[in-house]
Symmetry: C2
Subunit: 415 residues, 2 copies
């Protein structure tokens, strides 16, 4: 099996981590800032040094093309994103971009030509930390967000994406890819969770993105004096919300191990220490790989919350705030990743992506697969985010061989 140069990849990752490096070992390289401009420029230099041709689209997505032997064949995209969270780490996003570059460098070094062209891509504003929503560049690429809307989006200082692109020196090249022009998309990423590490697997073969359902709950009881209202007279919205929370937690057990439930935000308006809560608002985040299961989870949540409300004589208003269907990846592409992993001798497991990725947008239009590698303690979006060099290399080796299988070798491997 072909292998990448793990040390070269690691060195590039560490060099890129200097662009926007923070005092505590993390990276702050917000989308289309001066740091991001420097990061993008460094990436372009490396790509050009590897013989690739750069172009950028109207939303700043950056494509580096290595030609195939068939000028009419559709390109294979490999990529992820170079932007980071405000207190981000050295691997989230950048790993997928530089692993793509390393695939091309390895092919060059080993004199391998492919039938299909390969384009390494960095998507703009994946983190959503500067511009909302997250995964904006890939959303525009696949048509999920209209370009005009994206360009009008403002950051917290009122700077539009269009202004930020100009300030960053991004120019839109005339000839652009569309989803119809793409043969397949591969993305390598750190897991951003603890599963692979705890199971001791260097590789996760990602089978798709899970279904997400966000609910808004408002519980209405009666605000009253904490000192003068006997317990039996109370309609305490907070105790009711607590009972709902534990029902929700118990419900997750019925959808184990894949069902996930989280209450991220809670608010008691006009709260005071000696006033019984009259109103409590909270959020619910439901996740499951299977859309029919997420529907069932939502039904169960509604029934449980309404039961608690009735028992306690409070009102519960439950609304669906946002829903994102499950996104299965392309079975053929997933099989290529799994085959490459097995042939390289790595232990692995099939895994569902819990977080959002550019690959989720791509997968709805283009045959797509992802490779996960473990991150230390499952930590991400954190300056302490870390990954082991051996795992970084393993993921890139899988990427290389999966891409090569799809891109088709056009000349004999010199080995």
């Amino acid at each position: 099996m072909l292998k990448v140069d793990g040390q070269r990849l690691w060195a590039s990752l560490m060099e890129m981590a200097q662009v926007g490096a923070t005092a505590r070992g993390g990276v702050r390289r917000l989308a289309l800032t001066e740091e991001d401009r420097r990061g993008r420029a460094r990436f372009a230099e490396w790509c050009e040094a590897a013989g690739m041709t750069m172009r950028s689209d109207a939303v700043g997505n950056l494509f580096a093309r290595r030609e195939g032997t068939d000028a009419d064949a559709k390109p294979i995209l490999i990529g992820s994103h170079l932007d980071t969270q405000p207190e981000g780490g050295r691997f989230d996003g950048v790993y997928g971009v530089l692993a793509g570059l390393e695939v091309v460098r390895s092919l060059n070094e080993q004199g391998i030509h492919t039938h299909h062209p390969i384009e390494v891509v960095s998507w703009t504003n994946e983190e959503g930390a500067r511009f909302t929503p997250a995964m904006l560049g890939s959303a525009v690429f696949v048509g999920a967000t209209p370009l005009v809307d994206a360009l009008r989006t403002q950051d917290a200082q009122g700077v539009t994406l269009a202004e930020a692109l100009e300030a960053c020196g991004c120019t839109s090249d005339a000839k652009q890819l569309t989803t119809h022009d793409v043969e397949a998309y591969f993305e390598a990423h750190i897991e951003q969770g603890p599963i692979l590490e705890s199971h001791g697997h260097p590789i996760g073969v990602v089978t798709g993105g899970q279904s997400i359902r966000w609910l808004d709950i408002e519980v209405t009881g009666i605000a009253a004096h904490a000192g003068t209202t006997p317990m039996p007279y109370r309609k305490d919205a907070f105790f009711a919300a607590s009972a709902m929370a534990l029902e929700l937690e118990a419900l997750a057990g019925r959808y184990a191990p894949q069902g996930l439930v989280t209450i991220g935000q809670i608010d008691v308006p006009n709260s005071s220490r000696n006033t019984i809560a009259g109103k409590v608002a909270f959020t619910v985040d439901l996740r499951h790989p299977d859309d029919t299961k997420i529907d069932a989870m939502e039904r169960d949540v509604r029934a449980a919350f309404e039961r608690v409300a009735a028992q306690r004589g409070v009102q519960a208003s439950i609304s669906t705030y946002w829903t994102s269907p499950a996104t299965p990846f392309d079975p053929a592409c997933v099989a290529l990743v799994e085959d490459a992993t097995r042939q390289l001798g790595y232990t692995y497991e099939r895994i569902v992506s819990g977080a959002g990725h550019d690959a989720i947008h791509l997968a709805r239009h283009v045959p797509t697969a992802m490779v996960f590698i473990p991150c230390v303690d499952g930590l991400s979006h954190n300056e302490a985010e870390d990954a082991l060099p051996a795992d970084v290399t393993a993921g890139a080796n899988v990427l290389l061989n999966a891409v090569l299988a799809r891109a088709k070798v056009a000349a004999p491997v010199l080995a």
Copy 2:
């Protein structure tokens, strides 16, 4: 039994309710504002018309004296406060002051002289809505708050109490009462809770103020991604806090019916909809008439919360923020209130005061009792606060007869 003139008392209450009247039928008469100045002036006019002598102390407490037949006998104080909440009602506080005035008017009308002098008092800034803390005037009177500290206290606009007193035209008269000079203190007040109304009693014989304990809780788990962290790996601080809340609620049952538990405030710092709560802070308010029981409640709360924390692998930090001991009222004064109630033929119950009152400060230094009357729907600190004329009269009748029993009739009743 002697009776007050219920219609006269009601008319005075309604007239005073015009001073600071709000569009929605409530009253806004914050301490030492122009509205309060007008309310105090109206009260003083009425007292002088009833033959009483006015004086004010250094913190603006207003005393109206009706002489007794023994110039050396200590006065009986009757009173409450004229200030209101920003969106207050027509009865909280003012009822106790004008019921005191009505006691004197009734004695005058019926030609009754008492051995002890009677002083009707309005305490400054009971609500704590303009100056902190609440019950400031009575606190200074009993020495719980030093006068110099009280005078320095500022409102939200930076106006000191001393400046507000001057702006309000309050002058400190030379000869002032001390707690040693007071024979007893009686206060009538609306219940501010639902007990009397629900039991159908016009009178509550208040036996004292309850013990209060305020705790601050901080639960520390691990913040993590809602989409990538399997349920068994989570240390969810919010689910832990919810479990603690339900333990707290269950614990109240073991101290029923007198034990009260409330979580008034909760905060999840840096919360986001798709992040598992890493930290949750919340308050606990414990109340019980008995100090030894409140100690036991706090011990039980701590044990329960620590057990939940251990079970869930999170940390719980529990600190006692404030404690206020139980304040039993004087058994002899309480008996006078109870005897008067019984002799007047009113149904009643013995009740503990859940809220703070000036009487709580007085009771620690002077023989004290309170009379409660119901308020509609238990509502108070609300523009819709209401009381029935029959109950308003009943409470004043009880006050009249209890005060008279303590003040001792000096000349035969003309009836």
